[in-house]
Amino acid sequence: MSLSNEQVGHVARLARIALTEAETEATRRKLDGIFGLIEQMQAVDTTGVEPMSHPQELATRLREDAVIETDRRAAFQAIAPQTEAGLYLVPKVIE
């Protein structure tokens, strides 16, 4: 399989990673190598095999609906790039 630069650009947009044109080309070449490795999977007939998503096939554990954490907003916001009045600041999204 060979990816196009357009495909790489599309995936990068989906992943929210800015790539320059030069980076797109360099990335495409490395991804081609990686997908060459991954393609080995396609030679195996896995008809009827149940996919395994997890090593321990556990049911999701339930817990009491009780408060277990204390309010640590100040500590958690102290490490944020930009906050004000308890809110995280980002560029305006609604005009």
């Binding site: 995936v11 991804l31 997908f35 991954i38 080995q40 998503s53 554990r61 490490i79 930009q82 305006k92």
Partner: protein
């Protein structure tokens, strides 16, 4: 004291031959002297270590010491440590002072262990050589032109150079076992679910598992015992009673301590691809295991060759989802200049993540994208099942599986950085274990032609950690590979 076993350190602390403060100072001074050459630590926490050591000394004086009270250790820099920088080897978290402790960190604090600092690693644990660290590569203490392995390369280098007697790591595709092998120490990754992932910065959640590094299996055991245990904050933490992983080690050795132990040798792990010097050391170790009473039997893991391709779908897929949290909003890097919100995300992530992390996010995004899911992600999960079933069948014929940990000894820094696929193939013997969720261990078993350490991998059935450590310990009672030290650490 630098080379002492935990048993010796415990006795010295309890007899007040040395205080925990003195012991911590000894190791902190070694770190200060050796770290410029090794780059094993990203952060050294002298003040925190000395405060913890003073508290440990009080506990020892009060007669309340546990196995690890006053023992210095290092944490891989992906375990969150409250009030201490936690970078995960990334520029993205270069300013992240964690507001909370990982479960593992809290457990070790409660045990009275003294954290010296945070060790270097491949960014977000993605790598096999420690060269993907934003903070520069950690170096192999046996030869500083060589890699220490990865991703927990800093922890392994620190223990190998005796900058810390024990250290934590994590293993998603071999990141404890492979660096242990390449630096000549012992490292164990337990069964998936044994060590809580709470506060362990996520890479691939269905594979990530905390593990322990020490010179010997005997020293790994108490560290693993302290790290393990049920934690309701990790939805995949297993509700099992606490275990003492050292419980089998005290039995008298005798002539044939491993009498009757059936060791399976997967044909697939002994084919072409393994370097001659690694093969020679591994074969010699197996002969030694037989001399200790073990029986070796051939087994098959026919789908093991598919472990690398399956892993490089599953792990990037999980990573692309896990790493979406790094958006420059709540913590971590935010670009200095940006336009709208989307531009802020794209630039912050482009600047914050290194090349390999970006590549894996892109691979993961692609394989999960519309129209490709069945061909990649679902197919990889089906292969994962086949690989796990191979192990199940093999364990019907043997008690544990042995083979090489890594196909070669440590390679040169820069040797494989241009070719991600060559780097990926270096984990050929370790990855299947993570896909199945089994416990695995690496222990030193000799040296290669270049004078660099070779590791023997032992793989056990689910929850067989105590038996794995016991087998490794019996070998270490009869050999001295685990006592060999690089220059400067003797």
């Amino acid at each position: 004291m630098i080379n002492a076993s935990l048993k010796t350190l415990r006795a010295a602390l309890d007899a007040r031959q040395i205080s925990s403060v003195e012991l911590a100072t000894l190791f902190l001074d070694r770190i200060q002297a050796a770290n410029p050459a090794l780059n094993a630590f990203i952060t050294v926490d002298r003040d925190g270590a000395l405060a913890a050591a003073r508290a440990a000394d009080e506990r020892i004086a009060a007669g309340q010491a546990g196995p690890l009270t006053g023992i210095p250790l290092a944490h891989k820099d992906l375990f969150c440590t409250e009030g201490v920088l936690t970078t995960c080897g990334s520029r993205m978290l270069a300013n992240f002072v964690s507001p909370y402790d990982a479960h593992v960190v809290a457990q070790l604090k409660a045990a009275g262990a003294v954290c010296l600092g945070k060790t270097n690693m491949d960014e977000f644990a993605m790598g096999s050589s420690n060269e993907n660290s934003w903070y520069g590569p950690a170096r192999n203490p046996w030869n500083t032109a060589k890699v220490p392995g990865g991703s927990s390369g800093g922890s392994a280098a620190a223990v190998a150079a005796r900058l810390a007697p024990i250290a934590t790591g994590t293993d998603t595709g071999g990141s404890v076992r492979q660096p242990a092998a390449l630096t000549g120490i012992t490292g164990i990754k337990p069964t998936y679910g044994v060590v809580s992932r709470y506060g362990m910065i996520a890479y691939a959640s269905s594979l990530d598992q905390g593990g322990a590094f020490a010179a010997s299996a005997e020293d790994c055991a108490p560290l693993l015992s302290a790290m393990a245990g049920f934690d309701p904050r990790d939805s995949t933490s297993l509700e099992r009673p606490a275990e003492d992983y050292a419980r089998l080690l005290a039995a008298p050795a005798g002539d044939k301590p491993l009498a009757g132990l059936r060791i399976g040798l997967p044909r697939e792990f002994f084919g072409p691809g393994m370097a001659d010097d690694v093969r020679a050391a591994v074969e010699a170790a197996l002969a030694h295991y037989r001399a200790l009473g073990a029986i070796t039997v051939d087994v098959d893991l026919p789908n093991a060759r598919l472990a690398i391709p399956a892993y490089y779908v599953i792990a990037p897929a999980e990573a692309s989802s896990n790493l979406s949290r790094f958006d420059g909003v709540r913590y971590g890097h935010r670009a200095a200049e940006y336009g709208d919100l989307n531009d802020m995300y794209c630039k912050s992530r482009a600047e914050g993540f290194g090349e390999e992390v970006k590549r894996r996010i892109l691979v993961g995004t692609y394989v999960l994208s519309h129209g490709y899911y069945d061909a990649y992600y679902l197919q990889a999960q089906k292969l994962r099942r086949l690989i796990a079933e191979d192990f199940r069948a093999a364990f019907a014929q043997c008690d544990l599986i042995a083979g090489p940990t890594s196909p070669t000894t440590a390679w040169g820094i820069g040797e494989k950085t241009d070719d991600p696929v060559q780097m990926y193939l270096s984990d050929i013997y370790t990855i299947a274990v993570n896909l199945a969720g089994l416990p695995g261990l690496s222990q030193p078993c000799g040296f290669g032609a270049d004078g660099l350490p070779v590791g023997l991998q032992l793989i056990g059935d689910y929850f067989s950690e105590a038996s794995l450590l016991n087998a490794a310990h019996r070998y270490q009672q009869a050999t001295d590979w685990h006592l060999r030290r690089p220059e400067g650490a003797a």
